[in-house]
Amino acid sequence: MSRNAILARIRVANPAPQSPPHEAKPAPASLASAGADAVLRFRTAAEAKGVIVVDVDQPANLPLAVVRTLSAANIPVDTIRLNDPALLALPLSDANVTLTRGAAEPHDRLSLSRAVAAVAETGSLLLASGPDNPSSLAFLPETHLVTVQRSTIIGTFEEAFALLRTRYGNSLPRTINIISGASRTGDIGGRIVQGAHGPRQLFVFII
C-alpha cells in the first residue's frame, strides 16, 4: 500500500532520536493591538487594501448606512442576498431594499455576510461558513457587504484562531474565509485589476 510505503520511507529518512516538538511563538509584538487601537489599526489596514469601511452606531441604523454608502459609490441598491437571521431581523426592507434569502445565485449583484471577527494586523475579515453565512456569498456577487461587531475586532491571527477554537472546539466549519480586500489580479501585463473572479468591491460596516 502506497500509504505505508511512503510513511516507511519517511521513517528511514528520519532516524530516531527526533527533535523535540516545535513550540509556536507568539505573534510579533509590532503586529499586536487591542481595543480602540485595534479598531483604528483594522480600519487603516483595510482601507489601504481598497476596502470601504463605514461606522454604524447601532444595528438599527445599518439599513440606512448601506443605502447611503452604496449610493455614494454609484452602486444600485435593489436586491441583497443574505441568510443571516440577525441581519434579516434589521429593517432593511423598510429602506426600499428587497432581501433574498439563501446561498448566492449566479446573477446576484449584492450580498451581505456577518463576520465572526476582524483582524487588525492586516485589516482582514474572518468569515465562517454555515447555513447563516454560506461562503458563496463572499465570491459570486459583484459587491460584497460585511458587518462586523466592533467588540470582535482583535489584534492578531493567533487571537483569531484562539477564538475559533473556543467557538468550534476541534471541528471547524467547512470553510473559514480570511478576506483581505476585494478580488484582484496582476496576471495581465503586471497591472492590478480589481474584480478578477470575486467581488469588485468590498464594504465593511463596523457596528
Binding site: 447555513p131 501585463g189 503586471g190 473572479h197
Partner: protein
C-alpha cells in the same frame, strides 16, 4: 508536461535573443522586488520570522510521518477521503478514478504547481474530461499550451497585447469588433467566460499551500478568489498536495503565511486565505458534497533522505526567481520544466535526475541574492553547487575537456607549479597587451568579449605584487 531541461543552453540563448520576451521581462519582477522590500521594511520582526519559519519547516520535516498521520486522522474524522500516491502515475490515476466514479465531464482547477508537475491536465483530457484552469495567468497559458514561466505569476512572460490577441482567437463566440484594449476589459472577458465554467463544473481541483494537522484543513491563498469558487461550486472537491505541505498547527501556519505573502508580492496578506475542512455539512447551503485529499510523494521521500533535504522547506513564494539575475535575463521557460529560477535549478534535478538536467545548476552567477531573500533560508547556492559537482562527476564530457580538467587539477594542486605557470602566462599576456592595455578579441570567450574588453594584465601576478609590497618595493 514533457521536460525540455537538456536544452537549457539553447533555450536560454534563444530567450535572450527574443525581443518580445525581453520586453515582457523588463517590466516585471522589478515591481515585485520593490514591493517585497517595502513590506519587509514595514515589519521589524521580519528577520526573526524567517528564522522561525525555517525552524517550523525543519521541525515538521523531522517528524513528518507523525504529522502526516495526524493530518490524515483529523481530515478523515472531518469527512475527507485521504489518498496516498507514491509517484506521478499513481497520483494521476487516483484523481482520474475519482473523476470517473463521479461521471465528471468538466473539471475546474485552482492554481497548483504539483498538478503541473504530474501532468494532470493532459492525462484527464486524454480520458475525455474537459479541464479548465481558472487562475487568470494559468488560463492564459493553458490556452497557449505552455508551462508556467513563474510559480506565482505563470503568464509573466506575456504582454497585454499577447493576451488580447489570444482572447480574440479563442473566444470566437464573442463579437469580433468588441473593445478589448485594456487589462480591465480583458479581465472582465475572462471572468465572464470562466464564470460559465465554474457553474457547470462537476469537480474542482485545488492545490494546498498548507495542510493543517490540528484541524484536518487545507489552506489556499489567492488574490483572484478563483480557488474559492473552485472549492465551493462543484459537487466534488479534490485537494492535491505533496507530503511536505503539512504544518502541525494553525499558529505555525500563520508564521509561514506572514513570510509567504510578503516575500511573494509584498502584500501582508493576499486577498483570500481559505481553510477548507471536509465536505459541506448537513445544514450547509453550498459547498461540495465530497472532499478528497491526494497526498503525493513523487520524489520527496528521496529528497528527505538526501543532501537536498533542505529544499523541502520551500513554500513556493517565488522570491528567489524575482531576485535572480539569470531568471530575469532568460525568463522561466528556458528552464525547460515546471519549476524555474534558483529553486527550479535545485528541485528539478532532484525530481527528474541530474543527467537530463545537468545544465540547470549552472543557471546561476552564485551571487546569493536568492538565499538572502528566501523566507525559509534554503541554502540555494550550496545546493546548486552540490548539483554542479554531481553533474561534473557523472556528466558526459569530451576527451578535450577531460584532458584540460586533468591538467588544471595537476597545476592547481601544486602551488609552486601553479605560480610558475601563472607568472609565465601573465608575463606573456602583459607583453602582448601592453600597447592598448586591453584585449578586444581573444580566441576564447567570444560572446563575453562582444560587449566588453578584457583589461590586459600588468605583467606580474598578484602574488608577485604582494611580495614586493611586503618588501617595500615601490611599484
Amino acid at each position: 508536461m514533457k521536460p525540455d531541461t537538456a536544452q537549457f543552453r539553447e533555450n536560454a540563448a534563444a530567450a535572450i535573443a527574443d525581443p518580445r520576451l525581453q520586453s515582457a521581462l523588463a517590466k516585471l519582477p522589478g515591481g515585485l522586488v520593490a514591493q517585497r522590500r517595502a513590506a519587509v521594511t514595514a515589519l521589524p520582526e521580519f528577520e526573526a520570522l524567517r528564522d522561525e519559519a525555517r525552524a517550523i519547516r525543519d521541525a515538521t520535516l523531522a517528524n513528518l510521518a507523525t504529522h502526516l498521520e495526524a493530518f490524515e486522522a483529523k481530515a478523515t474524522a472531518m469527512g475527507s477521503h485521504v489518498h496516498w500516491a507514491t509517484d506521478a502515475d499513481e497520483a494521476r490515476q487516483t484523481i482520474s478514478n475519482i473523476c470517473n466514479t463521479a461521471n465528471a465531464r468538466l473539471v475546474i482547477k485552482g492554481k497548483s504547481m504539483v498538478t503541473e508537475e504530474i501532468g494532470l491536465n493532459a492525462y484527464l483530457q486524454n480520458s475525455g474530461i474537459e479541464v479548465v484552469e481558472s487562475d487568470l495567468g494559468e488560463y492564459i497559458i493553458q490556452k497557449r499550451g505552455e508551462a508556467p514561466s513563474h510559480i506565482i505569476a505563470p503568464a509573466i512572460h506575456l504582454t497585454e497585447a499577447d493576451v488580447e490577441a489570444d482572447f480574440r482567437s479563442y473566444h470566437t463566440h464573442l463579437d469580433r469588433d468588441r473593445e478589448l484594449g485594456t487589462p480591465e476589459r480583458l479581465v472582465a472577458e475572462a471572468r465572464a467566460v470562466l464564470r460559465e465554467k465554474f457553474l457547470n463544473a462537476d469537480v474542482g481541483i485545488t492545490g494546498a499551500n498548507f495542510l493543517i494537522s490540528e484541524t484536518g484543513s487545507s489552506i489556499i491563498v489567492t488574490n483572484e478568489g478563483n480557488g474559492d469558487l473552485t472549492q465551493i461550486l462543484p459537487r466534488i472537491h479534490i485537494v492535491v498536495a505533496t507530503i511536505d505541505k503539512v504544518v502541525p498547527t494553525l499558529d505555525e501556519a500563520m508564521t509561514l503565511l506572514r513570510v509567504l505573502a510578503r516575500s511573494a508580492t509584498g502584500q501582508d496578506m493576499t486577498a483570500y486565505t481559505t481553510l477548507a475542512t471536509g465536505p459541506r455539512r448537513a445544514d450547509d447551503l453550498d459547498g461540495p458534497t465530497k472532499c478528497h485529499i491526494v497526498l503525493i510523494d513523487n520524489g520527496r521521500t528521496e529528497m528527505l533522505a538526501s543532501d537536498m533535504r533542505e529544499a523541502l522547506r520551500c513554500i513556493r513564494c517565488g522570491a528567489c526567481m524575482n531576485h535572480c539575475p539569470v531568471y530575469n535575463a532568460i525568463g522561466g521557460h528556458a528552464y525547460g520544466w515546471v519549476y524555474p529560477g534558483p529553486i527550479g535549478a535545485v528541485l528539478t534535478p532532484a525530481l527528474l535526475g541530474i543527467t537530463e538536467t545537468r545544465h540547470l545548476p549552472n543557471a546561476s552567477t552564485f551571487c546569493g541574492a536568492c538565499e538572502s531573500v528566501c523566507p525559509v533560508k534554503i541554502p540555494l547556492v550550496s545546493l546548486m553547487r552540490t548539483w554542479r559537482e554531481r553533474a561534473h562527476n557523472q556528466g558526459p564530457r569530451t576527451r578535450g575537456a577531460r584532458i584540460l580538467a586533468k591538467l588544471w587539477s595537476a597545476a592547481a594542486t601544486r602551488p609552486a607549479l601553479y605560480h610558475l605557470l601563472a607568472r609565465f602566462a601573465v608575463a606573456i599576456a602583459g607583453a602582448l597587451g601592453r600597447a592598448k592595455g586591453r584585449f578586444r578579441r581573444l580566441p576564447i570567450a567570444r560572446g563575453w568579449l562582444k560587449h566588453r574588453d578584457l583589461p590586459a594584465p600588468q605583467g606580474r601576478t598578484f602574488q608577485q605584487l604582494w611580495k614586493e609590497a611586503e618588501r617595500g618595493v615601490p611599484r
